[in-house]
Symmetry: C2
Subunit: 390 residues, 2 copies
């Protein structure tokens, strides 16, 4: 087992009818002014927003709201929210939404506390030395942004989608009520759940060079997410299915899946997917469904990681037979079939990308080099994965 450090200080309040439990947490921290950050209309139509505002009013906590955070969250919206946060001297950010809203809240928390423009922080021109605390309510599981130190922001001027990370950005408290997610369209739940699956797999695919128990815990979580996603179309309001999916999603990118590994996961599929999301505004989960099986094929064709992919096939996907006993290849095929079975595309072509767009995509992804440990990525390898994905 490789050395690691693990730090996940978020208090997770998980379960039905738990939203009201967030308010005493603010009180315990003597927070009296918060900025609420929301995404689409569903938090308003579902009554969730009114409920939270009512609870804050009752507790005497002042608040302002910035709404309209989009998937692939925009820099311009972050800047707007920072101005509002400064205006009310917010002591905390309270995201109500999915990964994009949580990611944006991290950007706002950092920029408002340091006084630096967030893009200067993301591009490391300025140091992230402080952040407002985040107390959030999750309405769509998938990114684990509710408890990790990471965010991703789209610069709408430059079409760059860059990640940023700092332990100061880890939310203090996150409420995860799976039933709040019933109102999210099934395809969005599916994309987001696929993102959670990909987080476990980015760690798992790194190599088998870790302790057996770590492989087995990743397998348990990956299997559970796959099971949930398969059941999802007939289980939109089935609490058992939705809670297992939400639970696994909390866990998937908390850092726990990648402990005891040399590199904490590969994440090439994520970086290449970010380029696709940045330029073509394809949902993050969809980018992963396209890139990840094709990254696997690219890796396989180089003769690498076949032991990992074979174990993935048998232990996670339940592949029982394989032509020529090649379980690695059968696993890649079964994974692609699984993505297709969810109604998700498995090629760039299907989301309107042209072959001529590949150099632009590759160049965009290459801006966040270095990444990748199964294959250390460069422009040529990124291009290879994109061609395979076409």
């Amino acid at each position: 087992m490789h050395n690691f450090s693990f730090y996940s200080p978020t208090k997770i309040i998980f379960g039905q009818d738990t939203v009201s439990k967030l308010i005493p947490e603010l009180g315990n921290a003597a927070i009296s002014r918060v900025l609420l950050l929301t995404g689409g209309k569903s938090v308003y139509t579902s009554g969730l927003y009114d409920k939270v505002v009512g609870l804050l009013d009752q507790a005497g906590i002042k608040h302002e709201t910035v709404s309209g955070v989009q998937p692939n969250p925009r820099l311009s919206k972050v800047r707007e929210a920072v101005a509002t946060a400064k205006g009310i001297q917010a002591q905390a950010i309270l995201p109500i939404g999915g990964g994009s809203v949580f990611d944006s809240s991290k950007a706002v928390a950092a920029s408002a506390a340091t006084g630096h423009d967030i893009w200067d922080i993301v591009t490391r021109k300025r140091a992230l030395t402080a952040a407002l605390p985040i107390y959030g309510i999750l309405t769509l599981s998938g990114t684990s942004s509710e408890l990790n130190n990471t965010g991703v922001i789209n610069n709408d001027e430059t079409q760059e989608k860059f990640p940023f990370a700092n332990d100061l950005l880890i939310p203090r408290v996150a409420v995860v009520d799976p039933a709040l997610q019933y109102s999210v369209p099934v395809n969005q739940v599916c994309y987001s759940g696929f993102d959670a699956l990909s987080h476990v797999l980015e760690a798992y695919f790194e190599s088998l060079d870790t302790s057996e128990v770590i492989l087995e815990h990743c397998e348990a979580y990956a299997k559970a997410i796959i099971r949930s996603l398969r059941a999802l179309p007939g289980a939109k309001e089935d609490y058992a299915v939705r809670s297992e999916l939400a639970f696994c999603s909390v866990y998937a990118h908390s850092g726990w899946a990648s402990v005891g590994r040399a590199k904490r996961g590969d994440f090439s599929s994520h970086r290449i997917g970010h380029a696709l999301g940045g330029i073509f505004d394809v949902p993050h989960g969809v980018t992963l469904g396209i890139v990840m099986p094709n990254w696997m094929q690219y890796v396989y064709d180089k003769g690498l990681s076949r032991d990992v992919f074979a174990r993935f096939a048998t232990h996670i996907l339940g592949v029982k037979e394989a032509p020529d006993n090649d379980f690695a290849l059968a696993g890649i095929k079964a994974f692609k079939d699984f993505v297709r079975s969810l109604g998700m595309p498995v090629s760039l072509r299907e989301v309107g990308v042209k072959e001529a767009d590949i150099p632009k995509l590759a160049e965009n992804a290459a801006r966040t080099l270095p990444f990748g440990c199964v294959i250390s990525m460069d422009l040529e390898n990124i291009t290879g994965v994109l061609k395979q994905s076409f």
Copy 2:
């Protein structure tokens, strides 16, 4: 899945040669005076103590040491350490040792910060409203005390062994270097590893009424600990074995094994075991090896939990065949055989307890009622488990 909240803010620094990483953590928190707390002689003979003191001196951090914390940690030693901590105005407690040393450090942290006698806090006559932060180095894995909110203290005057718990007591940082544990005698490592196993099983045995993924993750960890304990006699300095055991032990009682359950585990075996440890000074792991399989038999004889014990048999112990297809009973037998195979006793008789001692043990355990959820315990049931254990 049942509602839960999960909070585990300890930074775990895990791996070989990681002790020096603790010092910058103290520096980051502006801590300049610490109380070191140690157990037996091995931290001195191994050179670990000198190393830590050297690092503290180098960093300009003042320190005093209280040594001699025993297994089943004593109240009198805690009081001695509190006086020393107050004398130097310690800003943090730095345990170097196993679970008993960490447990004691929590008692010292609470008493020194509140000014209350620790037994008044343990018996809830005084509120635990503050605690000094704990930055520790683990030298024997098993209790998970390095990252949970719980301690156990023996009152040497009254022969009471009582647990206490508060989130203020969760260590800030814990260094877990499995190689530091090579110098601990194998039987102690085994007892302590068995304690870790029992933490997973206390959760697992509660019922199957939780999400499948939670059952599977508990199974992965329980299997790994069993595998490690079986390998231990020939693997004293085998890093793969020792690191997997240490890793699972961190996880086992962090709270993660019991999320999503109605009651967060049964823990009757622990409470009855504490009585045995309190009166007869039997090592904690040994008490569990005696009580837990006999608690299972007692539960089985009442016709309860047979589905859980059957799954335990097949999924964790790998039982393939069972007389009359009674896998629950076969599992209890296989578990007892496993305890025996570790060279551990499976009856009270073997540790010198007389049948006449049972009422005294039962009455002692009953002082911490209510406990138990598979069977809600009372004096009669406790006596029943003890008779079964005899």
